[in-house]
């Protein structure tokens, strides 16, 4: 009996599901190992009991809460797929304003029947068994996590920071060219992708379990960043206010 797997999405860009679909080389093999019973983005099937549910996106309305709880109720294991589901990701950027302010800014007028809540991660509403971090997720990491789940082994995420992977790739530290990088705080597992591509780490994978914030902020201050600058750095992916500890 192949494990039944479902993919679900809430408020987000669906880039994580797309990243799964972008595993072109592995997709045909993967399909042999499990029964994908639900994948709304590419399928109109609606399944029943699930062994694994991968859920993408943040939760922004009571309808979404109901739907999420229903998915949880019929899934043996539920995994957050990507930053929006895991930590609220980029969606949290708007939580510094009230919903009325947001509507006002975007539409010019308040709309009476709007039922908008600030986006929240899955675990604000249901038990989450694990997560695939990142914005977007890393395809290879998703594969490894899925493989673990398929042989009933609990997947483990790296506990070290992106710096380690950056060093293994022999990349020069961005701080050397005066560019602030969130690599020292951010959980590894992406192979320092953005740094390898010439950018810096923006922290999309969330922080390691025990981030060394104190020493890191001191280094940022030495590089001339104010407290507000540091918060701005973290705000893009790491200041949802209800991120895991």
């Amino acid at each position: 009996m192949k494990p039944k797997v479902g993919f679900f999405d809430f408020t987000g860009c669906e880039g994580c599901q797309l990243t799964v679909l972008n595993l072109e080389r592995e997709l045909l093999d993967l399909v042999e190992l499990m029964e994908i019973v639900e994948f709304r983005e590419i399928s109109s099937d609606q399944g029943e009991a699930l062994d694994i549910a991968f859920v993408e996106g943040s939760i922004c309305s009571s309808a979404e809460i109901r739907r999420l709880k229903a998915i949880r109720a019929r899934s043996r294991q539920l995994f957050a797929l990507g930053a929006c589901a895991d930590t609220t990701g980029i969606n949290a950027l708007c939580t510094d304003r009230t919903s009325e302010q947001l509507v006002g800014e975007v539409y010019g007028t308040a709309v009476g029947h709007l039922r908008y809540r600030h986006p929240r991660p899955l675990e604000a509403f249901v038990k989450v068994d694990g997560r695939v971090p990142g914005c977007p997720i890393d395809g290879r990491e998703f594969l490894a996590i899925l493989q673990s789940l398929l042989i009933d082994r609990m997947p483990e995420l790296p506990t070290y920071a992106v710096c380690a992977e950056c060093k293994l790739l022999e990349l020069p530290c961005t701080f050397e060219r005066g560019v602030v990088c969130l690599g020292p705080l951010t959980r590894a597992g992406c192979d320092a992708h953005c740094i390898a591509e010439g950018d810096r780490c923006r922290g999309c994978r969330g922080q390691v379990d025990a981030p060394r914030s104190g020493p890191y902020y001191r280094i940022l201050e030495e590089h001339g960043l104010s407290e507000e600058d540091i918060l701005n750095e973290l705000r893009i992916f790491n200041l949802s206010g209800e991120k895991r500890g």
């Binding site: 190992l33 070290y160 920071a161 530290c173 379990d209 060394r212 020493p215 890191y216 280094i219």
Partner: protein, 637 residues
């Protein structure tokens, strides 16, 4: 070696030229090296430094022209070829046994461009990985890899010269020295020679290689011999410096990952896509990572960066040194070079060492013998030969009654003088009694208020006043011995309510020689203590007992069970008084004696005050009887 002189290598006497082996030299041009690379590429994977994305890296060389023989120390270590981060240990089938897999020999490889420090690092890896049961995966790579050294120019982070790892005589197959007309290849192994002979048969051996002067210098250094490092570290396990760097450390593990000698690893199973099988792989790990020392149940025996950084230093510089007598650090500077927090091994080690040395050697020799200058506030004559000096000290002091100062006059000398006043909260002023009897005390007697006087101290172990609290106190003083007991008495009087009965028995030769007569009179007339006197030479109007002090014991009403006795006087007095005290019921624990001697240093060193095996200046001069009863020199002489 003289920097201005070219290195001269003398061929070993008697060695026939044609049988050149390790130690032989050949002259190569860059063209020869290119040809060597091209020829080696047939049988070997040739690795060397080349430019990639604007920086140097050790990588596969496909075109000899890419190969750089001069490159900065910053390049990542060749460890990645000998002990790679991702190494398959074996393959398995899920639910099955270990899969039998044809033994895959290590790829034959030539590494061009081993800097001397990296060659030293390979020796460290050999020490560690060949120890006990040799690591076969490493061994296979090690055997299949030809190491060709090149020289390098230290940068701001290197400190190889202070470790002696800036040059190397063995551990390579060939070593290429840059010379004026190409490269001088030094043969380090039979394999190295074979390769040269085979692929460059026409090159010529050089008998007298003229190497350019080797003048490496590093900005950073370890400023002490490596041998003393392990003992130094042994002393500083709890040093604050670990916390200081621990609080700066980001725990990123870069120091370990970049280190050419770090080899700690993790073992993981990687599954094939079809979930039928997989492989067990080892990957580099770091003692700075959170998971590294976590044990089942979640506890962690090295839970924070303070512990982890200390461990890194201890392992590199102490544990492995003690095991292999080789430093596990080769001074390549990679850890500090890429540490975002700026943790620098040389800085840490030098400061620890400097501190240790400072603790052992006073920064200015003789400082502990130098007196500080005190101001003489007043001088009062007590008798014809004793004067009371009141001093203001430059630094406040605290002491127990019975302690002494070393008092000096430059040009005359120094002598110990018991403090006659009680310790007070301010601690700036003390009183001393000076009896004029030698040249120093005579010189002191000539001083007047306002003069400066040299003092050291206080020294010595005084009366345990706190143990006297709540008890009756019997003070027995003879002659100048009263000075010591005055300090104790004034201390008690200042806290009078905390003690029971207080009794002073004082004996002196004559009334004229009695010290502190005004005090004695006041105490005698007051109701704070019972004060009795005895003089041997009678002739005064006061009601004084004639005879020696033992006469005062005759009608002594004291309850010894709740009393202590403090006795201070000449040895002869002890011999007479102590039996009386025991007769009254005092014990060896309740009698305290003042055993002043002529201490020269006050530091327990000079030996002048040593009574049998005890130095008075350190252990005394106030002792409970029990502590000195077995000392034949204490009372009996």
């Amino acid at each position: 070696m003289d920097k201005n002189e070219a290195l001269q290598i003398q061929p070993r006497p008697g060695q026939p030229e044609k049988q050149a082996g390790p130690g032989a030299w050949y002259l190569l041009s860059r063209g020869d090296i290119d040809r060597l690379v091209r020829s080696l590429s047939v049988a070997y994977e040739v690795v060397g430094a080349r430019m990639k994305d604007g920086r140097y890296t050790l990588d596969r060389i496909s075109d000899p022209a890419e190969l750089e023989l001069e490159f900065p120390p910053r390049v990542h270590s060749p460890k990645k070829f000998l002990f790679p981060n991702w190494e398959k240990l074996f393959r398995f089938r899920l639910g099955g046994k270990v899969m039998l897999e044809a033994e895959k020999a290590a790829v034959p490889r030539v590494i061009f461009g081993m800097h001397p420090c990296d060659l030293h690092a390979v020796q460290v890896l050999d020490d560690c990985l060949f120890e006990g049961e040799a690591d076969s995966t490493y061994q296979a790579k090690r055997q299949a890899t030809v190491l060709i050294g090149v020289d390098c120019e230290p940068d701001a982070f290197c400190f190889c010269t202070s470790l002696g790892t800036d040059k190397i005589d063995s551990g390579f197959d060939l070593f290429l020295h840059r010379s004026n007309d190409g490269y001088l290849a030094r043969v380090g192994s039979a394999r190295g020679l074979r390769l040269l002979r085979r692929y460059l048969p026409e090159i010529r051996e050089v008998d007298n290689p003229q190497l350019p002067p080797a003048g490496k210098s590093c900005q950073r250094s370890i400023r002490f011999p490596m041998e003393s490092l392990a003992p130094v570290l042994g002393e500083v396990y709890d040093h604050a410096i670990w916390q200081e760097i621990g609080e700066r450390c980001l725990g990123c593990g870069s120091c370990n990952l970049l280190c050419p000698t770090c080899y700690c690893f993790n073992v993981q199973d990687r599954l094939d896509l079809n979930l039928q099988g997989g492989e067990r792989v080892r990957t580099w790990d770091s003692c700075q990572f959170d998971q590294f020392t976590r044990v089942s149940g979640g506890s962690d025996f090295r839970p924070d960066q303070t512990d982890r950084q200390r461990h890194r230093f201890f392992r590199k510089y102490k544990y492995l040194w003690e095991k292999h007598q080789r430093t596990a650090c080769v001074g390549c500077g990679r850890c500090a070079r890429e540490c975002l927090a700026g943790i620098d091994n040389t800085e840490v080690l030098n400061s620890l060492f400097a501190e240790q040395v400072a603790a052992e050697q006073s920064p200015s020799p003789g400082l502990e013998y130098q007196p500080q200058m005190a101001e003489l506030l007043s001088v009062d004559s007590l008798t014809g030969r004793e004067k009371l000096f009141r001093l203001r000290l430059p630094e406040p002091v605290s002491f127990r009654p019975g302690a002494f100062m070393q008092v000096s006059v430059f040009g005359v000398g120094e002598a110990p003088l018991t403090i006659a006043s009680a310790p007070d909260a301010d601690g700036h002023e003390i009183e001393l009694v000076v009896r004029s009897k030698g040249s120093l005390t005579r010189a002191l007697h000539r001083l007047k208020a306002g003069d400066a006087i040299g003092v050291r101290g206080p020294f010595g172990n005084g009366f345990p006043v706190e143990e006297f609290v709540g008890r009756d106190v019997l003070l027995v003083a003879g002659g100048i011995g009263l000075v010591t007991l005055r300090s104790l008495l004034l201390t008690i009087l200042a806290r009078r309510g905390e003690f029971g009965r207080v009794m002073l028995l004082y004996g002196s030769h004559s009334i004229d020689q009695a010290l502190f007569r005004d005090d004695l009179k006041r105490w005698h007339l007051g109701d704070q203590l019972d004060c009795r006197f005895a003089v041997q030479h009678f002739g005064s109007q006061w009601g004084v007992t004639g005879g020696d002090i033992t006469h005062l014991f005759r009608d002594l009403d004291i309850v010894p069970a709740r009393a202590v006795a403090a006795v201070s006087g000449p040895a002869v007095m002890y011999r007479n008084v102590n039996p009386l005290l025991f007769g009254l019921g005092f014990t060896t624990e309740t009698i305290y004696l003042n055993l002043e001697r002529h201490m020269k240093c006050g530091l327990g060193k000079c030996g002048r005050c040593q009574i049998n095996d005890i130095t008075v200046c350190q252990c005394g001069p106030i002792f409970p009887y029990s502590q000195v009863q077995h000392l034949r020199e204490a009372i009996e002489r």
